[in-house]
Amino acid sequence: MVTNRKRERLLFFLFVFPALFAFIIVVIVPFIIGIGYSFVEWDGLAMNPAKFVGLQNFKALFSDARFGQSALHTLIFTVMAVLCINVLGLALALLVTSKLKVNTIARTMFFMPNLIGGLILGYIWKFILSDAFKAIGESTGLTGLFFNWLLVPNAALAALVVVITWQMAGYVMIIYITGIQAVPDEVMEAATIDGAGAWRKFFSIELPLIMPSVTICTFYSLSNCFKIYDINLSLTGGGPGTSTEMFAMNIFNEIFSYNNYGYGQAKAIMFFLLIAAVTITQVAFTKKREVQL
């Protein structure tokens, strides 16, 4: 018996090892090296010497107005985007699990935007939100809604929310569908017999029972929105001005445009800590709301 268990453990290890090895090489090791870089002042060229500055980089973070601005943009964007993605994703999931004739096609259609890469998506929407919107506005006179969104700071931020919602809602929809399908029919039938309406059934039965899906979906959308870069780059490029410059873009610019590798790295570490703190809090929070049958 003992050898058997050992063999099992060995097999287990053998299967896990390749993934673990890759993870260590491409994530853990660079991460640790990165922490080291955050204590130096360096322009990124191997031939130019790096100067050790201790915690100077981290200190500078707190007086960096542009970094603070980008933190604010990221926060506003993330809150709005997570809400939109999950509300829309859940609504779509409810729609395609109801007795519709076009269920399969609808699912495919809603999921489709997720298959397009973020960069391309950004360029497509850039055309729609600037040139196309302007043209529609001029020909219909509805200039209140149809103007060049990318030239107005708040609208540009909203544009980012629209695009990421369009991209990710389909993905979280799939997760919600599995959650909804796992809700036992008997419970729902019993509720119907007891005279519960559609709203009541949804909020008192379905929603508590799909809380595990909610946990996963909010976690997924939260961490993705925090880290957004591709759509940010192709849709607004951080503009107009720096009004839509997100965390990731600010860090990229610090490193590759200002050539401050050490300082940029310090920002990245800060960024990591922030995402970790927020997502862990969120998971702990939504986990508490999950109920078991």
Binding site: T3, F21, L45, G239, G241, S257, Y258, N259
Partner: protein, 406 residues
């Protein structure tokens, strides 16, 4: 069992090491890798490289990226396993930063044809070969803009106002950071009596840009563009050239490089390149955009091959034909004849020959400041009607000063 496990583990862990060890090839010493960012010359450069390989047997590989991505890519490529042999930097802050990577290429035959003002020297050693000479200013449609419209600042400002009704856009800028602000902002810096002395005293601190008459004129021009011209943020480079070529725009602030686009439109009207008449200025801004440099970190044989390639390109008959006729460059070396230039390049060559030019001051500004600070501020200016031209100049001033402090 435990032993087997340990052995297996060690074997597994070391496997990738062996794998990569045996797969590693010895670098081909007679191959040079060129990394460059001028998309206009991509195809011709490939053909030139083929011709060079046919003549000398030295293999050439060309890596490309676009101009705005070049600097970030270059740092990554220089840190990689396979590094470029021949790449490009611009003079000033950038060349200084890459100093450790620049090989002494003074032995190249092309060096004797490079005038002192065009050379890239660091610590007394020649480290670069100028790509070409480029000039920018106002590209004007001669039928719409008369010489008298550009004779003085006042005439120029009036021309912008009066052209508003005649064409859809009197003066076109475009959204790319250099075309939006970088090049235009060169004018007030460059029309100073002594640009270098001004920069030195400005960087010392205490001097405000908004107090200078050059920048006050510039501020007025920016306000005029905002009120009388199409918002440049809605126009990209392609559209700006296209609108000019089809007569919808009377002037664009561009350089001789955009003639390639006009050729595609088979433009038939006369055009010329003129100075931006701030305070009556009549000079265009002319300099060397990039220098070819050889990576000092590659084996000596590769460095030699790279020097050979540059000599071939800039001194052999075939190479010179590529430079002038295929790349459309205005040559920066004295040995290349310049009879067959397009009208805009001819204006550049004429101005350069007569020494009637403004310098490019932006190469001495803090690195990348156009992309990271000036462009966002300009975007804000064009989308915020309440920001005055002087406010705008002050914002530019503050951004410049805060970069100096770091």
């Amino acid at each position: 069992m435990k032993k087997i496990a340990v052995v297996l583990l060690v074997a597994l862990m070391t496997m990738p090491l062996f794998a990569s060890g045996s797969a590693e090839k010895k670098a081909d010493e007679t191959k040079i890798i060129i990394f460059q960012s001028k998309v206009e010359i991509t195809d011709s450069l490939e053909r030139a490289a083929e011709d060079f390989t046919a003549e000398t047997g030295i293999k050439v590989e060309i890596w490309e990226t676009t101009g705005d991505d070049y600097r970030a890519q270059l740092r990554l490529k220089l840190a990689g396993d396979e590094v470029p042999t021949l790449f490009s930097v611009s003079k000033g802050a950038e060349a200084d930063m890459f100093k450790a990577y620049l090989a002494d290429i003074g032995s190249g035959a092309v060096q004797q044809y490079i005038a002192d003002s065009m050379a890239l020297k660091i610590d007394g050693k020649s480290v670069g070969v100028p790509y070409s000479v480029e000039g920018f200013g106002l590209v004007v449609d001669d039928a719409l803009v008369k010489d008298s419209d550009l004779a003085s600042q006042e005439a120029f400002f009036n021309a912008i106002k009066s052209l508003k009704g005649k064409v859809s856009n009197p003066l076109g800028l475009s959204q790319e950071s250099y075309f939006l602000i970088g090049h235009l902002l060169n004018t007030p810096f460059a029309i100073m009596d002594d640009p270098d002395a001004f920069r030195a005293s400005y960087e010392q601190g205490g001097v405000r840009l908004a107090d200078q008459k050059e920048f006050q004129a510039f501020a007025q021009l920016m306000e005029l563009i905002r009120s009388y011209c199409v918002n440049p943020m809605e126009i990209n480079y392609d559209r700006s050239c296209g609108d000019f070529a089809t007569g919808k725009t009377a002037m664009i602030h561009q350089g001789n490089w955009c003639y390639g686009m006009f050729k595609d439109y088979s433009v038939s009207f006369d055009m010329s390149l003129k100075g931006v008449p701030l305070l009556g200025n009549q000079k265009i801004s002319v300099s060397v955009p990039y220098y070819w440099v050889v990576n000092s970190q590659v084996p000596a044989a590769q460095q030699e091959a790279a020097i050979k390639f540059l000599d071939w390109l800039y001194t052999s008959d075939k190479g010179m034909d590529y430079i002038v006729n295929q790349f459309g460059f205005v040559p920066a070396t004295s040995n290349i004849p310049t009879d067959s230039l397009d009208p805009l390049s001819a204006d550049v060559a004429k101005a350069a020959g007569a020494g009637n030019t403004l310098p490019w001051t932006f190469n001495d500004w803090p690195m990348n400041i156009i992309d990271t600070d000036f462009a966002p501020i300009t975007q804000e200016f064009f989308t915020t009607p309440s920001m005055s031209g002087i406010d705008f100049v002050n914002r530019i001033d503050n951004a410049y000063q805060s970069r100096l402090k770091k």
